[in-house]
Symmetry: C2
Subunit: 323 residues, 2 copies
């Protein structure tokens, strides 16, 4: 009973990824009272929607049923006015009126936005970019998610397609983009969990005596997460791969600093677990190569909410909807 009383007036934030889903019952102070985890089923639209609903119902029940609204952060291009998912790289949500479907089924107000926008919102309202009028978010997961605040407002672009920061071209004629993109030399090809795994595999072959090389010989898959782990463990070769990725990150941030003159650049996503081993080299590149005075003022910092920024941002969407 106490838990339910404490949770009165909660909202539910849902972060839907390409492979998994996190729903949280969250109060106005952004305290999380319950977390519901699901695998995101990717086979058909109905299954995805049922997974969302199922997780929301679990979270609602856990806080005694008293929920004011639901926020959804989904990895799709969203029509801001209607909450329709127009395009989606990883899930079967194309031309699906997600907002209205979920609202009808739950009988609750529902807000929908892109997952990276939601993460930016969480960091901007309550996290590492709090109080900034101009801020940039890069979430480094398998790929890159981006969020932008310009002049005190979230940037969505003319058709909701803005802030695709992983698709800034940093190497003309470079690597084909691994994302759902026909570009070459995109930041995402050099700075992401995927890129970290690729480079980790390359050096594992070149340096069989390194921890990475031994992991490869032992039959382990060389992933970005493994490179991050071995960097933490002090493996020099893994650390060099991470440091080089930090420099490439710094090149991307240099462009962002020159274009936006932001107060703060927030870096989140799984790869930020490497912390200063990633951010240190990035900061050095920006300090040398970006324009003054922007480079002298900008802060480059890790995200506050880590892997939960998307879920918390979705909760903020819901709070602001009924707020």
């Amino acid at each position: 009973m106490v838990a339910a009383a404490m949770a009165a007036g909660c909202v539910i934030g849902v972060d839907l990824g390409g492979t998994k889903l996190l729903a949280g019952a969250v109060d106005e102070r952004l305290q999380v009272h319950h977390r519901a985890y699901r695998l995101a089923r990717t086979d058909d639209t109905t299954a995805v929607l049922e997974t969302i609903l199922d997780a929301v119902l679990e979270a609602r029940e856990a806080v005694g049923g008293d929920v004011r609204a639901v926020g959804l952060g989904i990895p799709c291009l969203i029509a801001p006015e209607t909450g329709v998912a127009m395009r989606c790289n990883h899930l079967p949500l194309v031309d699906v009126p997600v907002r209205d479907i979920v609202a009808d089924r739950l009988g609750l107000p529902v807000a929908v936005d892109n997952d990276a926008n939601a993460a930016m919102l969480a960091e901007w309202r309550h996290g590492a970019a709090r109080g900034a009028s101009d801020a940039v978010l890069l979430t480094l997961g398998t790929g890159i998610g981006g969020g932008l605040v310009v002049g005190g407002r979230l940037v969505r672009g003319a058709r909701g397609g803005a802030a695709e920061l992983g698709h800034m071209v940093i190497a003309a004629g470079g690597l084909p983009c691994p994302g759902n993109c026909e570009g070459r030399g995109c930041l995402e090809a050099y700075v992401s969990g995927m890129a970290l795994g690729r480079e980790g595999l390359r050096v594992a072959r070149e340096a069989p005596d390194s921890a990475l090389g031994r992991a490869l010989a032992a039959g382990r898959e060389i992933t970005g997460a493994l490179v991050t782990e071995l960097t933490h463990d002090g493996d020099t070769v893994a650390g060099e791969v991470m440091g080089h990725m930090g420099e490439r990150l710094g090149i991307g941030i240099t462009t962002l600093v020159n274009v936006f003159d932001p107060e703060v650049v927030v870096v989140g996503g799984g790869v930020i677990a490497a912390g200063e081993l990633l951010l240190g080299p990035a900061r050095e590149v920006v300090a040398r190569h970006a324009l003054r005075p922007a480079r002298d003022h900008v802060r480059i910092v890790p995200a506050r909410f880590g892997a939960e920024s998307g879920m918390l941002g979705a909760a903020v969407l819901a709070l602001e909807l009924v707020g």
Copy 2:
């Protein structure tokens, strides 16, 4: 008398470049009633300010003295609230309260902004970006000037340093930036009058039988303007240099489309005299490499006001100041 009557209520817009100055007496319909040209004197601060005042006085006298306000577009970092020029790459205007000095001397309201912001304002209010909520301007002169409109507002950044679009990094580890910048691989190193002259000289040496090669043999300086002229005249080699620069421009615009999802990208400055010979290859790169749906909707168009967009934008600043 008729001219003076027609010009009642004019403002004066001033575009101050690194080497020359244009002041225009402009009415609310953006008709120009008088143009005053000066060389911008770069030796000391007082001389620059006197040149501005002198040109404004000529324009004011030419329209019978009835002038409501003055707008200044200057190639400096401007403090938006105070009109102080904080940094300036080409002129001795550092920590100079330009707005207040000019206003005191003239007894008129004065608005000051960066010259590229002024050009963006002219194109946005009255030119090629009219009606757009999200627009980008690239002016290709000796270097690159940039302007941004996001969500219906001009973007200045946290400290006035935003929209340095010439300093997006398109080639990590590439050419040292020729601008007043310590970066490498900046767009400006590949797409500008300066880059065009450099590439023109390179191919003139490689192809002595081309028009460019003959110009070099005849002792002409190989400038961006000459390459543009020979491209127009049908010289294949010059056309290839221009086409390659158009492709590099397309790479920069690809980043801008992916970051901003704009309705329109406006390209101005002296190099746009090459027209479709520059924009055609740029559009092809964007159509292949940028993300959908942004690439399918964005228009890539020449500036409407050409070399006068800075002056007209400064006039718009003045018009908006007095309302």
